[in-house]
Symmetry: C2
Subunit: 429 residues, 2 copies
Amino acid sequence: MQAALARPNLISLAAGFTDTETLPVAETRALLNELLRPLRAARAALQYGSTTGDPTLRRLTAERFAKLDGVRRGARSPWSPERILITHGSQQLLYMITEALCDPGDIALVEDPTYFVFLGILQSRGVRGCGVRVEADGLDLAHLRAVLERLRRRGQLRRVKLLYLVSYFQNPTGVTTSFAKKRAALALLREYEPAAGHPIYLVEDAAYRELRFAGADEPSALAARGFTERVVYAGTYSKPFATGVRVGFGVLPEPLFSAVVRIKGNHDFGTSNLLQQLLARALASERYDRHLAHLRRRYAHKAHVMQQALERHFPPTVEWRVPQGGLYFWARLPGDLKSGIGSPLFRAALAREVLYVPGALCYAEDATRAKPDNELRLSFGHASERDLREGIRRLGAVLHAQLEQSPSAKAAVRAQAPPPKRRARGSGG
Amino acid sequence: MQAALARPNLISLAAGFTDTETLPVAETRALLNELLRPLRAARAALQYGSTTGDPTLRRLTAERFAKLDGVRRGARSPWSPERILITHGSQQLLYMITEALCDPGDIALVEDPTYFVFLGILQSRGVRGCGVRVEADGLDLAHLRAVLERLRRRGQLRRVKLLYLVSYFQNPTGVTTSFAKKRAALALLREYEPAAGHPIYLVEDAAYRELRFAGADEPSALAARGFTERVVYAGTYSKPFATGVRVGFGVLPEPLFSAVVRIKGNHDFGTSNLLQQLLARALASERYDRHLAHLRRRYAHKAHVMQQALERHFPPTVEWRVPQGGLYFWARLPGDLKSGIGSPLFRAALAREVLYVPGALCYAEDATRAKPDNELRLSFGHASERDLREGIRRLGAVLHAQLEQSPSAKAAVRAQAPPPKRRARGSGG
């Protein structure tokens, strides 16, 4: 894939990069000029800060998300500034929380499919991912219970340390898990804690939360009363503002907070102060929110462009859904058509200069099920409208050709019985 | 210490922070304006980059240090851009290299004393630090051999993965290890590799290299012909430019390079592009070098201020040396006078509102020797000239009072026989 990305005519629908045209160039320049003009403030921005992060950015983060979650403010709030740690992107928090919670041989429950870089983190630390199915409204709670039961019967519950949930416009499926489901998942995890012998945390990855372009925000798991001591929230300002400005944050309960601050001290002793103060100023000046409103309109438009192209060019037996936010469409192929890196489809797509993320990359190694190999992640974040149209056109042509050669897929077409979820529409898009 | 740092009248000679007055405010503002004006370049700076780092910054880094090391350029150079990884400060590289090389139970050879945050990294990963003595011209090679021999006899050599060396104006002692000693250390490590059964790397932490204000630069270990495949070089642009701009870099041989790039991908998939391009532009425009020349004069002056205060206020039986660069003086107390956090000296110093780093914090847990507890790290980096003078005056008064109460120290004074190294002068200062 690395080699393919260097090809000049390649259209990548694979990259998780954000839209280039809307990057806040003028805003960033103005903010940095404001920040670096008063000598005292400028010097503070160019000096080391603390390991936990800039106090103003922590406070503004607490205020922003307490409001979004509809929870009380103050020292006992789940969104108290004292619980917030600023990081070099939310990815760093995911890494550190895994480092803090998991030993080699431990188990992390993950959505099936999930964010593939998190699977890489688990693998690098010798932690096993164990898949929990995803439904149209998020995590499949019945399956979560079945998985916990299975682990309990096998005496493996004591190795389970966390459930990792990409809760908003999930990477890769675009699905959002409802607040009710998050609360129910927390209750379920608590039910199994006595048998596990330790806390089982819900690690909520909210990286795409602010990239909603349809529907209303769901509260985070931190808003679930009585459960906040079991929630780790990973947020980011990189994707909603500028990905070149790597600033994310975590909300963590004690004693995890202190443990992760120690790890952060070892990793890099603190996030670049210049980047933190840039973001703090963006938030305080409301330039962040104005930019975000602009960005949401832009992604709504690009998602619509991709939707129209999919409707026009994809065979009707390919299932996909319109997301309400985030950067991704998720498509499922009919019959026995495969999408993996070794598949004829992937190779034919590359030959036509179009790249997607094969769905199989997003599944944990889990012996309890065969790894699905018939899905595609299609990103509308980075490519231009023109490339989105052309990329989907090329991919559609490849799919039509491959379907022609697939007996079972042809049978599915002949039976005129597309799967029930075909083109289920979200309320937006 | 955290609590003490919040006291308004406290003079901290402990912080590793850099000088605030010389932070490049105008330069950074100018560079960012240049960077963010052309739309195409601005967008590139605000977008994700690659995990290895900005190509221009990697190239400029290669050119800069190949020249400094006097080595050839090109693909086979130890300073080839392909061997360079850009990180969020050099600390991140130290963490990742430990992660790549060491398993729990492994051994890292470290200077005795060494950079205390590196000891924290080792401890957090279950790696044992094993101390090698430091002389006035750096690493004690005879002791390095003795330590390797001891480990060989005990069958522990297979656990030894690296020697960590802060090679320029060492944190904490201010000592520089000569190029000849670095080459000899590499040869010694190679001699023990067959018994170890794997490579033993020299991890050269050159964080203070560019902060030289007297004498001439020593080449890095990468300049040792025939040994570059065993050298990891950790450099930084944060301290010489602005600590709020967290950009460091590593030079690594394969297969370590690929292993650490994978780890970096898991940690944060790449260093903030905005910070990298800011540094690349600072280097290319020569603003970096102009700023560095200014900074060196400033630290030379502050080191001189501290030296004069030490001469004036410290008891003559306290040993210390004038460094040729970096941020630190290292002082050794006479007799049985202790400097540790629990010591009367430390408490008396805090009561007088002055803070230092107790030397004991800089020593690995090593059962083969008692941990020295009679040294102080004194930083001239952050405090103003006035605070340097006043801080050393206060500390001197405390030392005189403590010495009055110490029978053995009084005996040393009476004997009129101060230790031979007393006030040994470096060639600079």
